[in-house]
């Protein structure tokens, strides 16, 4: 008797999102298992970022449900979603430009910081100890992602590739159960991509973090993902292992275009 498959960590069921007349997502269903790396692919405008935005609570679906760790959380606000253990990075690098790299990553720890306002004001005792404890944790992430040298640099001054890495650090600082990465390797050269792949795989294997990433580079997708889902015009057109999806006719049509004669 085969054991029942473990329940999905994240379940997206029949989710639709409309912006006025534009149907960004059309009854998309997706199941993400705990501990896997799933890549979401599709041509531009397919709705991939929208899907991530719905999962992180920034948009609310007009129909459908989202279940995380078995519980329905379709209509939660973004900060509540973060509290559940979902962290993400953004397509256009949403770092806090006015703050240093260290402070940026420390903001990732905000959810873990319990504060007494009075003690904060005095920066004494428990407040100070907590601050230092989080600092130590963040330093471990900084070591892990090899960004020690730029700790104190204002984030706005970093080159694009490093900014993406800092953003990843910030997301990791929250110790997420599910990590959503929106085109983490966009604009990087081959070396940087290899580094990023290595980091992502390390995160997945060492910390067991489930990872969902949007990615355009097929070689990356083939290399690091366990599970691939393809979107086109807001609909899911393929879902399976990398090899299955790669040879799926609908996917090939979507990417290469097919004549509608």
């Amino acid at each position: 008797m085969t054991p029942a498959p473990p329940p999905a960590l994240l379940e997206v069921a029949g989710v639709s999102v409309r912006f006025g007349a534009v149907q960004a997502l059309d009854r998309v269903s997706l199941s993400v298992r705990r501990g896997e790396v799933i890549a979401i692919i599709g041509p531009n405008g397919a709705g991939k970022t929208t899907l991530l935005n719905v999962i992180s609570g920034f948009y609310h679906p007009s129909e459908g449900h989202i279940r995380f760790e078995g519980r329905d959380r379709t209509r939660l606000a973004p900060y509540d979603v973060a509290a559940l253990g979902i962290a993400r990075t953004f397509q256009n690098v949403a770092l806090f430009k006015g703050m240093s790299v260290l402070d940026n990553i420390m903001t990732g720890r905000l959810l873990k910081m319990k504060g007494s306002f009075l003690l904060d004001a005095l920066y004494w005792g428990p407040a100070k100890a907590q601050e230092l404890e989080h600092r130590a944790f963040v330093e471990r992430i900084i070591d892990f992602l090899e960004i020690q040298a730029i700790r104190k640099t204002p984030a706005g001054r970093l080159p694009y590739g490093l900014q993406k890495r800092v953003e990843l650090a910030r997301a990791l600082a929250a110790e997420p159960t599910l990590l959503l990465l929106d085109e983490p390797m966009a604009g990087m050269n081959v070396e940087e991509k290899e580094d990023m792949c290595r980091f992502i795989l390390d995160v997945n294997r060492e910390f067991g973090t489930t990872i969902a990433l949007i990615e355009h580079d097929m070689s990356v997708v083939m290399d690091i993902s366990d599970h691939v889902a393809a979107l086109d015009y807001g609909r899911k057109i393929a879902d399976g292992t990398p090899d299955e999806v790669r040879t799926d006719q609908a996917v090939i049509d979507a990417y290469l275009g097919v004549s509608h004669v």
Binding site: S56, G57, F58, A77, P78, Y79, V81, A82, A83, A87, R88, F90, A94, L95, F96, K97, G98, M99, D103, M106, T107, G108, L110, L111, M113, G115, F117, D120, A121, L122, Y123, A127, K128, E131, L132, R135, A136, E139, R170, A174
Partner: protein, 358 residues
């Protein structure tokens, strides 16, 4: 040569996060503060205390307050005058209603009341951003001033419409009212500013400051990280209004002696905003520098013509002052949006390397 920090290694995170990580800084600041408490009361003339040092402290407090809200949390506010008024009138009512209460406690309570009012007027900030919010704070400003003008209860039905600081003592020294010496008032003001300045610095370098700056820089990303926008913004309004409230009571009780609503009008709001911009948005040190600059400029303008042998009418002097402020705002925004605080940092960098050019 002067400012070498080579050889000073930080061996713990605690040392790295200290406010003054470099030994020279610690020594200088410590000495400066000690002297600040002792020298002026002993040596400075009445004029210097009354016209320069005390107003500087009052405005420094207000500027720190506004900087927390606008510079750190990114919420533009033109209602500073109104919140200062709340503090002043609250302090007046508290001390006249409960003469036995220590005046220091009265100041703090007045600040708390201002904080509560700040929360109320900060509620719109969840829906409104940027200059829209500035307009909403104008509503606060004009409404509050109107309220204090119209409702006689706030001035204890005085026919003149002014509030006057009654005589109060701290540890036996007369610190408010006509009998209080400028020196005594100065020491109280300095004490308040030092205490609350330290508090402000602690707030901004910890989690509260970070959540403010996150909201300021990219509020949507901040929310997705887990920062709760309403709570964070309201906290900023509350704390900022607290500081402005205390500044308002200081203005009346320790500086002017008596005041009417004109002391808190829209020009006051602009003035403090200028101090924040010129001093440096998002910098506690900048708040002090900006306040010093704006307090000193009129003094300079009054006296400079005499030194140069010219004679300018009071009106002309005021006009030049206004033009200089306006021009400097533009200048700083173009050249150094981080204001005097950044210039100070650059100067320190140069000092580190002196006499080498780079």
């Amino acid at each position: 040569m002067i400012y070498r920090e080579a050889g000073q290694f930080k061996t713990s995170y605690a040392a790295d996060q200290a406010v003054f990580p470099i030994v020279q800084d610690r020594v200088v600041v410590g000495a400066f503060l000690a002297l600040a408490f002792v020298l002026p009361p002993a040596l400075a003339s009445e004029y210097w205390l009354q016209a320069v040092l005390i107003p500087f402290l009052v405005y420094a407090m207000a500027t720190v307050g506004l900087n927390l809200l606008t510079g750190y949390a990114g919420q533009v506010s033109l209602g500073t005058g109104g919140f200062m008024a709340v503090g002043a009138y609250a302090a007046f009512k508290l001390t006249t209603g409960f003469p036995g209460l220590s005046i220091l406690l009265v100041f703090v309570l007045a600040g708390v009341i201002a904080a509560l009012v700040g929360i109320v007027f900060g509620l719109p900030s969840l829906r409104i951003k940027g200059f829209y919010l500035a307009v909403a704070t104008l509503a606060a400003q004009f409404f509050l001033i109107w309220l204090f003008n119209k409702v006689g209860w706030f001035v204890n039905y005085a026919s003149s419409g002014t509030i006057t600081a009654p005589p109060r003592t701290v540890m036996g020294f007369m610190v408010t009212g006509p009998e209080a010496t400028a020196a005594a008032r100065y020491v109280v003001a300095l004490g308040l500013v030092v205490v609350f300045g330290v508090v402000a610095k602690n707030l901004v370098r910890g989690r509260i400051g970070r959540s403010w700056m996150a909201i300021r820089d990219r509020d949507i990303a901040a929310e997705i990280i887990g920062v709760r926008p309403l709570r964070t913004k309201l906290l900023a309004f509350a704390i900022s209004s607290f500081y402005c409230g205390i500044a308002g009571s200081m203005l009346v009780f320790l500086f002017l002696g008596s005041a009417e609503t004109q002391a808190f009008d829209i020009n006051q709001s602009f003035l403090v905003l200028f101090m924040v911009i010129i001093g440096g948005l998002g910098s506690i040190l900048g708040s002090f520098l900006g306040a010093a600059f704006i307090v000193l400029t009129p003094i300079f303008l009054t006296n400079a013509p005499h030194w140069l042998g010219l004679d300018i009418s009071v009106a002309l002097q005021k006009q030049i002052e206004v033009m200089i402020f306006g021009g400097l705002i533009i200048f700083f925004l173009i050249v150094e949006p981080h204001g005097l605080a950044r210039l100070w940092q650059i100067a320190k960098e140069k000092l580190r390397l002196w006499p080498f050019p780079h």
